[in-house]
């Protein structure tokens, strides 16, 4: 098990490459989900304003 993490003494390079790859791909997905949530908040607000305009 320890052997796996040590990667023959090249842990910094192997995990440095894999770690940043995982980090960026996960961060991209989180950003996309946040973007979608924020968009719906904005669109719903826009929709409510429209309904108010219609009723006046």
């Amino acid at each position: 098990m320890v052997e796996f993490f040590v990667q023959g003494g090249y842990a910094f390079f192997v995990w440095g490459a894999y770690g940043v790859t995982a980090l960026l791909l996960v961060a991209e997905v989180i950003q996309l989900r946040a973007q979608r949530r924020a968009l719906f908040v904005r669109l719903n607000r826009l929709n409510r304003t429209r309904e108010l305009d219609k009723n006046q």
């Binding site: 023959g8 390079f13 490459a17 790859t21 991209e28 979608r36 719906f40 669109l43």
Partner: protein
Amino acid sequence: MNVNWFKFASPPAFYSLAGRLIPIFWGLTLTLLVIGLYWGFFQTTDQLGGSNPQKEYYRIIFIHVSSAWMSMWLYFVMVVWAAIGLVFNTRLSFMMAKAIAPTGAVFTFLALWTGAFWGRPSWGTYWDWDPRLTSELVLFFMYIGYIALHSAIDDIRRADRASALLAIVGLVMVPVIFWSINCPDPNQCAALHQRSNLTKIDGNILFAMLTMSLAFWMYSFAATFMRLRSLILTREAESIWVRELLTQRGEQ
């Protein structure tokens, strides 16, 4: 089966189609990642001993080559959609191109980053102005330039057309990157970077590498479609179908 493909050229139809496809692409991504990583780390250990021993950092190959392939492939696909948009003036094509760019930029950055972390233990340096490395860096700037130009122009239609043109011009980088190490005469390549020859690669390494590339490809579909759906809603915010969609969601 009679499918009317033109139906999906309309933003509302593609919006719902992409919504149904995204979970499938996530499933494929995770499955392929598990297989590729398991195979790469545990089924290629015979490479560490023997007549031509590798050091453990060869394992970077599984993400390095895959992200480098995706960086060039996504640029090509982005240019195809940008060109279709320019020729046929289809709204969705431009959105498709715009949705691909950030994911392509991420993979280009990762190709450079994982390459640096591989270069340091194997060549003794994180960076060198080698033709392959330099041309990949220029590709990264092309993606950034495309995104920056698009966001610098307020009028969406003009932004779409101007950045599409820039993307098409930048396509020249893709063959440059390819031939920067695969030129016909090896003496003409002053490259530090290894030549690529898929036929000389050990079968297990090749299998893990191709599986990881497929995983990154499926990831690109999922991420791009997620971005595309937000983009469609943003641009179609005034349309009736988006308002209906909001009402339906509100009632749930």
